[in-house]
Amino acid sequence: MERPRIAIWKFASCDGCQLALLDCEDDLLALAGVIRIAHFPEASSRTEEGPYDISFVEGSITTEEDVRRIQEIRAASAVLVAIGACATAGGIQALRNTMDLGDLSAAVYPEPGWLDVLATSTPIADHVTVDAELRGCPVSKVQLVEFIAATLAGRTPDLPDVSQCVECKRAGSICVMVAAGIPCLGPVTRAGCGNLCPRIGRGCYGCFGPVTGANCAALTAQLRGLGLDEAAIGALYRSFNAGAAAFATEAKADV
């Protein structure tokens, strides 16, 4: 069987999600034996023309050129997978969607007029049809390998759509919010990181974005009960997945 041809694409991002692929040290050479990396500029100076069997897209859409380029990538890809918080929710840079671009540019650049960017940072699915999304800031390399393995085997990838609370219970982590009064986004955040924060006594800060059916209003009431003011509650929702609908709506309701 012909090895499926994989492409990796980058838009506005930190490169951390595509790094997750290179971080598969134990599996990298095995992976290279079953897939063909046709386009991965960060790792290889050899690139092949499309069409591609699977395109993994990192980063958010922030320029007119991005809007054009993602259409081309979609047209060249049988399956398009958005990876990470930037590609699935606009990333931390989506904070600008509720700010004035002129003020922001002037805060960073002496000549903001030389920049050619959109006023918003938006996820890939706002522009083209996305076949699958891998969440996280960064994505979990376990999920990345699982997605590739499942696709090769022709089965549905096993990607959790339960809350971080479920992951805590399965791991036996003590609830930081109930036991220690630490603000935690776990009840509304999708599992998948590996239960990283609660198990070290830190509240979940939402790297994996909202879980399906997230009841943010109930969590907000709980956070108020812990004594958080509106600004602190808004800031919790407004981080790496600020552009995800459930978080954006709740942040607006509170700030």
Partner: protein, 429 residues
Amino acid sequence: MSERTITVKVLARVEGEGALHIRMRGDDVEIAEFRIFEPPRFFEGLMRGRQASEAPDITSRICGICPVAYISSASQAVEQAYGIEISPEIAALRRLMYCGEWIQSHVLHAAMLHAPDFLGLHDIIAMSEVEPDLVRQALRLKKLGNSLMEVVGGRAVHPVNTRVGGFFKAPPVAEIAALIPELLWGIDAARELALRFSAFEFPPDAGAYTFVALVHPEVYPIETGRIASSTGLDIPVEAFHEHFLEEQVERSTALHGRMRDGRAYLVGPLARYALNRERLTPSARETAEACGLGAVERNPFRSILVRMVEVQYACEEALRLARAYVPPDPPAVTAPVREGTGQGCTEAPRGLCHHRYQIDADGRILDATIVPPTSQNQPQIEADLLRVVRQSRDLDDAALQWRCEQTIRNYDPCISCATHFLTLTVDRD
């Protein structure tokens, strides 16, 4: 007169998006530009109004390859503003985690992105077909770096266990001790890779660099020190902006760093090595000598060797810290918020990473200024390009393009950090 143009629209094997443009008329090199077109993400603007305690986590998202550099510099800056003195145990644990970042980032660049240039190959997968043992060794070494970050920081990309003042939880002694056998292996593996890479054929070159790096009287600088230069500058971290500035150029979304007198300068492995060679361990220094590195290395193509010497040092330093590990108790030092300005500076794998925050009485960020290594190096990268093109003008276009790309990759440029990376155009008339 004939015009010759070389354009690389998307430079490969670098972190982020950049381009290269060279135009020659006859023997004159008219343009040698390294353009960064990665769209800006406006971090400094986005952070205004956020709590200063959020700065480490938010700025870590500037770069997935060197998040610990951002976490550490931002934490130091906020700690300074709040008058927090971290304990020696917290400082040691931070340095241990930072060693992990040096190992994974340097091995990623040296073995996976840079080494293929010297072998005439496109990537590590192709390398694994001709040098399988070398590739396996490099991947294992990189994994060691990631393991250090995971054990101390809780996650290799964007660690979660770090906070202003220290850590959420001190790693158990047993988990740190479990790293020791692999660190012992890593010291030898780094040395072997350094020696292997020293057999590469390096284009002859020498830059007239002004080196800038942290210096420290006792240890090779990673997360602490004063800022020094090869021209005699020796200043505290707080004086950075009095001596260095960033300017905007129209073709690039990365600001370009210069010294206040207008000179370009160089940060990163060559600079650290030139200013701190005596602080390396004797065995890392011995590896440097065995690789043919002198007291100062001015050939940027040989920076790959300095990186591997630094990997060996980082493994040795991590071993020392792991053996001496005492869990910090408490794991973090806290203090009430207060109005003020704080600055922090550490040695990211690619060079100085400087943060400054102005904070109000409620702990909110009023103003943030972040100076990453690649924007500081950008004027020097273009100066290197110009020099290399002049020395290599007899090469045909394909060879010249390869040489130019290599010149940029010498820097391990992190365009995501600079905001930003590479398209090469060579125009020859």
